[in-house]
């Protein structure tokens, strides 16, 4: 049997507007194209996301966390 390693850390995008400025930097850099930006809402596909940390670095204001 092959074990599947699932990264259970959660990705949290603070998109209520307290930090997020809806600039789309995370959307454009996501290598799996799994982050979506509506005008004032950011969502991502939990099952596609690999927690690669790239969007965390690309966010100019620190609105994304993995933990």
């Amino acid at each position: 049997m092959v074990a599947t390693v699932v990264d259970k850390r959660s990705l949290h995008i603070e998109s209520s507007g307290q930090l997020c400025i809806y600039c789309g930097a995370c959307v454009g850099i996501c290598p799996l194209n799994c982050i979506y930006l509506d005008e004032t809402r950011i969502t991502f596909d939990e099952t596609t996301c690999t927690r690669c940390n790239i969007c965390v670095k690309a966010c100019p204001v620190g609105a994304i966390e993995i933990g």
Binding site: A25, I29, N33, K57, A58, C59, P60, V61, G62
Partner: protein, 395 residues
């Protein structure tokens, strides 16, 4: 929401999208341009500086969107030696600082007046594919799903660039090929309204700090930092705050607007067309990797894209083979320059502060007749050929 059909569907109403829509409509096609926001051009994601020599060629007339005209640029080394390039003295045209939201709206108005339909609050959610070709998109308008079918779809969805990727065109970026940017629009600052200022070196690793004056003590003070050089969260903001704190002329300013965004500093896409779809502007990574400027290239390519789209529809030539006409045309105009500036960027983003200092010192007194990246790189080449070695063939 009723399903729609059109000849040319443009996704995204930024400058490249509006130019494509306008030129496709002027060339006789039925055009629909969709935009996910409720207001074209807003919120702004731009430093708002642009060159001006290209505007007339693509049919853009100066308008109320111009804040002011600058005379040149000042480039500051890490120890803040200034290299001043005043072009107006040499009798050349330079550039504008603009109201980007007004500019984008004007271009959308031009597109609408040329006959294009414009639909706001409408986001593409996926492409529709039939027999391998793209034949439109799935979309949501005010949250309601529907489909738009079109023989030609244009991905003008900006830096975020999802439509092209859904269609299978690789537009993914490496971390070294993106700058993450933050800008404050500040009032009560002392900036010289004749110049756009650029500060290089470790104050903005892999990017620069910019000051673009907007008149009456107002200026855009912004930063771009290369993502591959970022170590912790919110670093773009902390670099910018640090820079402002060190400069009294700006530390006393008051921020009235915060702008963020991503800028690609990559080579352009290897493939900008597929069956039934073309990709244009920032989405096609047409941004100049050295300056971060993308409006001119997006508009110039948009004009060609619109013309080819209309011709494709009129002649029912929807294949990638026919659309390659667009790919070939924009590459002929600026691909070599983008590639040269990308190679230069690869080198310059790795230089330590003392080398930047030496280079700027060496350029003092060199007569630069025209403010262009090419001229600056040629001047660097004449003093420090070791810096330009990797791309000297392009100089």
């Amino acid at each position: 929401m009723q399903d729609l059909t059109t000849d040319v569907l443009v996704v995204g109403a930024g400058p490249a999208g509006s130019m494509t829509a306008k030129w496709a409509a002027m060339s006789g096609a039925k055009v629909l341009m969709i935009e996910k926001r409720q207001e074209i051009g807003s919120p702004v994601r731009c430093g708002e500086g642009m060159s001006k020599s290209w505007l007339a060629d693509v049919g853009i007339k100066p308008g109320k969107w111009i804040n002011l005209e600058v005379e040149g640029a000042r480039i500051y080394s890490p120890r803040e030696q200034c290299l001043e390039i005043n072009e107006k003295n040499a009798g050349n045209e330079v550039g504008y600082v603009v109201e980007r939201d007004g500019f984008d709206k004007q271009l959308a108005i031009d597109a609408a007046n040329a006959g294009a339909e414009v639909m706001l609050k409408t986001a593409a959610t996926d492409v529709i594919r039939e027999n391998g070709a793209i034949v439109g998109v799935k979309a949501k308008r005010f949250g309601e799903p529907f489909t738009i079918r079109a023989p030609i779809t244009i991905a003008a969805d900006g830096f975020e660039s999802q439509v092209g990727r859904w269609a299978g065109l690789p537009t993914n970026l490496m971390l070294k090929d993106m700058d993450t940017c933050l800008q404050y629009r500040m009032t009560n600052v002392d900036s010289d309204e004749r110049y756009c200022d650029f500060y290089l070196g470790s104050c903005a690793p892999g990017g620069y700090v910019w000051i673009f004056p907007k008149g009456n003590g107002l200026a855009n003070v912004g930063i771009g930092v290369q993502v591959s050089q970022i170590k912790t969260t919110a670093e773009a903001k902390s670099y910018l705050d640090k820079w402002i704190a060190k400069h009294p002329a700006y530390a006393k300013g008051k921020t009235i607007d915060i702008v963020g965004g991503g800028v690609s500093i990559s080579p352009p896409v290897k493939q900008s067309v597929t069956d039934g779809l073309m990709i244009v502007g920032d989405a096609a990574r047409m941004i100049d990797p050295l300056t971060g400027g993308g409006i001119a290239n997006g508009c110039i390519a948009g004009k060609i894209c619109g013309q080819v789209a209309a011709e494709a529809v009129a002649t029912r030539n929807l294949s990638a083979t026919f659309l390659a006409k667009y790919d070939k045309a924009w590459r002929g105009l600026f691909e070599e320059k983008l590639y040269r500036n990308w190679l230069a960027k690869e080198k310059l983003t790795s230089l330590p502060d003392d080398v930047f200092d030496k280079v700027v010192d060496a350029l003092q007194g060199v007569k630069l007749e025209k403010l262009s990246v090419h001229n600056i790189l040629k001047a660097v080449h004449s003093r420090y050929p070791e810096i330009t070695k990797e791309f000297e063939a392009f100089l």
